[in-house]
Subunit: 420 residues, 2 copies
């Protein structure tokens, strides 16, 4: 007797597109599901601290927007976005570039408001990627960007990267025919690394020389702790770059608003892709954010986020040093292989750590969850061969007290894994 086919497979009319085979549930998302057990201290998520959400200001803004122009806020609107918000974005980018010593004449007409900066990645892929197109990413890189690019069926190629940014000589060997290089220069997700001024200058020069477009993603750039990061790559060569920004980290992710700045050569096509994708981003939310931002609100608000996150980063560094010994100022490879190592991010939300030789982050995770702490293994963030000893630790969601308890739990888990 033959086993019957499952009923779902009988005469299904649905033939999926080829790209659907390459679309998969986010590995991170699946990991997060496992770690969402109540009582677990999570260093895993990439969630801004909800303490930073300006709730009272949002409430006032909702009332004001619905009082001032309810018909405008609730009606269909232009695909480009709400004009006053586009002007604010352009003005802020100009001001920040000037403070970093660069002249970047951002025209509001080049600003496109997107449904989170994630949508910017989707639009970029639609407009620039054919099936089989080579695209370049850092190693490791933001997994959500790869997920946004994959439906357009690219050949994703990793460029070697260190704590200063992408390796320029490796880039030279891989750039031929690439549609773009995707980079996250500030407080990168997942590593927390920031591209140095020297590397930015070199990358900008080499990209222009190679005629290689850059997609510069900057969701975390405002979250610096001591000094602002160097000027954006886009400020150095606006015609050769698309810049992506977000309101999620400085105001709130739940409004799903971001923006991109694109040169005239590609803006019209990005706009057409935007219109086809969701007509426009919610006009009500755009007006809420424009209302909240009036009168320099971010200049008062963002420093509070920086101070909070810096204190939490410091707590994590302190707890790590306490449990694993201070990171040595100088060390040889053998010593670094024998212990947990970590970096000291100058901003953002994430710290990058590496287990001793012989330990794999993916094996450590279930033991850590048993001990009461969660993190994200680093390997899935690599487009090719991941470093299985790496892990990403977010320091912004838990409290200082939870950070200390969580690092203690991580230490116990590592001891258990090592059989100590």
């Amino acid at each position: 007797m033959n086993a019957p086919l499952p009923p779902d497979c009988l005469n299904s009319p649905w033939q999926l597109a080829r790209r659907a085979e390459r679309m998969n549930p986010s590995v991170i998302r699946e990991i997060l599901k496992v770690t969402e057990r109540p009582g677990i201290i999570s260093f895993a998520g990439g969630l801004p601290s909800s303490k930073t959400f300006p709730v009272a200001e949002f409430e006032a803004a909702c009332a004001q927007v619905l009082k001032d122009d309810p018909a405008g806020a609730l009606q269909y609107a232009a695909s480009e976005g709400y004009a006053p918000l586009r002007q604010m974005v352009a003005e802020q980018l100009r001001t920040k570039a000037a403070a970093a010593g660069h002249t970047w004449e951002v025209d509001p007409a080049q600003v496109l408001i997107t449904t989170g900066s994630q949508q910017g990645l989707d639009l970029v892929a639609k407009v620039l990627v054919d099936a089989g197109s080579k695209i370049l990413v850092e190693s490791p890189t933001y997994l959500g960007a790869v997920s946004a690019f994959i439906p357009m069926e690219p050949d994703v190629v990793s460029v070697a990267s260190d704590d200063q940014g992408v390796d320029i000589s490796d880039l030279r060997t891989k750039a031929a025919g690439a549609r773009f290089l995707y980079v996250l220069p500030n407080f990168q997700n997942p590593t927390g690394n920031t591209m140095s001024e020297a590397r930015r200058a070199a990358l900008s020069t080499v990209a222009a020389e190679l005629n290689l477009p850059l997609i510069e993603d900057n969701p975390y750039g405002d979250l610096w702790f001591d000094t602002p990061p160097p000027a954006p790559l886009t400020a150095r060569n606006p015609d050769g770059c698309i810049y992506l920004g977000s309101f999620s980290k400085v105001l709130a992710p739940g409004l799903r608003l971001g923006f991109l700045v694109a040169p005239k050569a590609v803006y019209p096509k990005l706009l057409e892709a935007k219109q086809a994708a969701d007509l426009h981003s919610p006009g009500f939310n755009q007006r809420m954010i424009a209302q909240v931002m009036q009168g320099g609100f971010l200049d008062r608000h963002v420093p509070k986020i920086r101070a909070l996150y810096k204190a939490q980063r410091d707590a994590m560094l302190e707890a790590l040093a306490q449990h694993f010994g201070p990171m040595p100022a100088q060390a040889d490879a053998a010593m670094l292989d024998s212990r947990l190592t970590w970096n000291c991010p100058a901003g953002g939300m994430f710290l990058w750590a590496r287990l001793p030789q012989g330990q794999r982050a993916v094996d450590l995770l279930p033991i850590a969850v048993e001990q009461g702490v969660a993190f994200v293994p680093g390997a899935p963030f690599y487009a090719d061969h991941g470093d299985e000893r790496t892990l990403r630790l977010s320091f912004v969601t838990p409290s200082v007290e939870e950070i200390h308890r969580g690092v203690a739990a991580l230490a116990r888990a590592m001891q258990e894994q090592a059989g100590v």
Copy 2:
């Protein structure tokens, strides 16, 4: 001396994807720009009347959502959507199908909240369309759907349609190998036509027989004037259909929220495409809408929209009869060719009209705008050869008084065009 190349063309690093060549500014959008002159009475746009937006309820909902769970409303959230809203959607669809005599057991787990129903079209195309895939549309059809499908490079094939819906025998000749048929059964955009019960029954049977998936788009279905339309196609064969719905026409477009209902064979891939496209639709807006919908609000609110739009449709029918003579109960082709003709939509926002032989809507438009009224020519709504005598008249945005003045202006324009 050679003319210099325009600076934009020199060494541009941007190589566009092949699909970008097929993406173009919406013809309708370009037409609307021309007609946005102040003082013009517009039958052109597809904008719900702003009188119908429940502003006070939205204001109360914003305050309540921010009071109840600000951290939840403003944080990142699940890609599937806000669970209580998904439950409400499932319950409403079940209830409406039951009232139309069909059992449709909509599981909330099959509901995906989208950034407007436009995004549903984008996701459907990503998951089901390969370059060169045949997809079928009505003739004419919603232009925004074609814009959403085009980036995936389909071969768009029109199926003949009449005032009862798609022509079943033409469908049979064209269905082989098609990935799906896209249909708007209720108060269609652009024609205002509703698919009859007999045609729905036939289409449902034939689609199942041909193993042809149906994409059923229903943004206007709640806007019936006298009796609800027949049950959805999806209610008749849920495993063979994806259903798209919207909050734009019953609450407000500016919150950009819609939904889709998909069978288990495709839901996971649509969800992955959704996550890659914008992570999730704004959680704040989802909670606003769930808050407003509590306690059966739509059961009280939507009848007011129906009454308003019915009165405006009646005003347009009255004005048309007054200026062009009543539509004859019976008429031969020659008589219909000699005059303006129109249909009587049973709901929705649009009326479809046809000029006398020899007049083209696209030529009439500038004359009409001079006379103070705008409409949208019908030809761009056809995926292949458009009927150049057709035009779409929206009756929901202008007031009754404006409708009368606008139809008078249309009559003057037609006389001018005819040289009378």
